[in-house]
Amino acid sequence: MVIDASIGGLGVQVQQAGVRLGGVAALGSASVCVASGEMLVVVGDSGGGKTTLLRAIGGLVPLSTGSIRFTQADGSAVSPGPRDIGFCFQEGRLLPWRSVLANVALPLELEGVTRGERLDAARAMLERMRLEGVERRMPAQLSGGMRMRVAMARALVTRPRLLLLDEPFGALDEVTRLALDEELRGLVAATGATAILVTHSIQEAVSLADRVLVLRGRPGVSQVPIPISLPSRDEDGRMSLEFASLCALVQHALRGGHA
């Protein structure tokens, strides 16, 4: 796998961020500092504002209280452009009338990159995700797992410094999801991008994250992030005692106990 960590991930400082949507509190208050290149996973009750937090960080919904700031790897403040942030949504959101290749090239196309350049970039990204064989297929001809990998390739094609993933594998079966989780972790590490992922699965959170942020209640209030250190994250790692106790810790934070 080619490693190009040269650009460096964005750091994200979220301070007491709250969001009201249509007069209803969608996110109570969230605070977290995400370091450059870190993988943060957000878990919480449904309706607690996990997705809202992610969308607020991506600039898709405005904050009603608090602030979100972005920093370079060296600590200086920066305001990210549309190419700096890659989104991957739960439903994949591929254009059904476009081939896989044209879908992956779409972000670059909308940014005005020339045809040859954007197709090369899209092909390179597909190759990197071992999707070369399907570039001419239409999204409807792909399995759910394949479709999500294409969506991931599209999110990565602009070489973003921050990757925002909203339950990307939530609709998939357990086996596929675990395989994609491992792939995602490797991919994010190789690009050096910062990643924030939302999930409702505690197991997925613990096996993916550098740190887990728990949003408790409705609307959600963020708890102190839980650092995850595991000797290994493969299948054996998920069977280990450390893994089980970390899951219990996250579960505990979610249910409102005092850890």
């Binding site: 898709l60 549309p82 989104f87 959101r93 009338w97 779409l106 196309e109 909308l110 940014e111 239409m138």
Partner: protein, 257 residues
């Protein structure tokens, strides 16, 4: 092969059966031919007058085909413009609806005043009756565009034109195809009704004129022949529209299966 037969055979059997029943009813009850001619009589009359009828059918096909294409172009353009702004939609949609509500026979004389007798008027008549379904279905498609996909375009700050060309228009194609199928049938009706009022100019009479003049001469057989031909024109237009829709959608939309 077997599947194809099961598609083609049932309508053929039904049509043949209906013709046979018609023929025998006319013969058994000796219905006068100016009231209801037997299919065989109609076929005979049509064959005898084939040159005039085919020339008329060509005229009607031109008017309805031209009017239909115009209606698709205008409908998609107007639907796209109205679909891009709620304010424009509120302002202009009732006006578009009015177009649909005013009976064509009532505006046909106006078309003669403005466009004269002949193909131009009948094309306009075909266009007027078929434009609304295309406009409404385009509007529906635009409005129904997946907000999740819209968000992707928003994230990358796509311009108004890119949004339309790369997102809203392709997303609307399934409903535009449906609307156009309805419009194809209406266009032929519009052309023939238009011809009743404003069809005659020069030597070749379109089907609408064949109908009215044959009626005056009590040639009911020719009236039937002209009606059957205009139905053929309608079927052809509908078939071409469906084929075009299939070509556009076969790779990605379930409706093309």
């Amino acid at each position: 092969m077997r599947r194809r037969l099961s598609v083609v055979l049932p309508p053929l059997v039904v049509a043949l059966g209906a013709l046979l029943a018609w023929e025998s009813v006319v013969r058994v009850f000796q219905v006068p031919r100016f009231i209801l001619p037997a299919p065989s009589v109609i076929a005979e009359a049509a064959w005898a007058d084939r040159e005039r009828l085919l020339a008329g059918a060509a005229q009607t096909a031109m008017a309805s085909g031209g009017g239909f294409l115009l209606a698709v172009a205008i409908g998609v353009a107007a639907g796209s413009v109205l679909g891009s702004s709620r304010l424009l939609q509120r302002g202009f949609y009732p006006l578009a609806l009015l177009f649909q509500m005013v009976p064509l026979v009532a505006i046909a004389p106006l078309l003669v005043i403005w466009l004269g007798y002949g193909l131009r008027s009948t094309t306009a008549a075909a266009c007027i009756v078929s434009v609304f379904p295309v406009l409404a279905s385009t509007l529906d498609g635009m409005r129904g565009t997946d907000p999740g996909l819209r968000e992707i375009f928003g994230i990358h700050r796509a311009g108004r034109v890119a949004r339309w060309w790369k997102l809203e228009l392709p997303a609307s194609i399934p409903s535009i195809v449906t609307g156009s199928r309805v419009a194809a049938g209406l266009a032929v009706i519009g052309a023939v009704v238009g011809e009743f009022v404003s069809g005659y100019a020069g030597q070749t009479a379109p089907l609408g004129i064949v109908v009215t003049s044959s009626m005056r001469e009590a040639r009911t057989d020719l009236v039937f022949a002209a009606v059957a031909l205009s139905a053929c024109v309608g079927f052809a237009l509908f078939g071409m529209t469906s084929a075009a829709g299939w070509l556009l959608l076969r790779r990605w939309h379930a409706s093309a299966d």
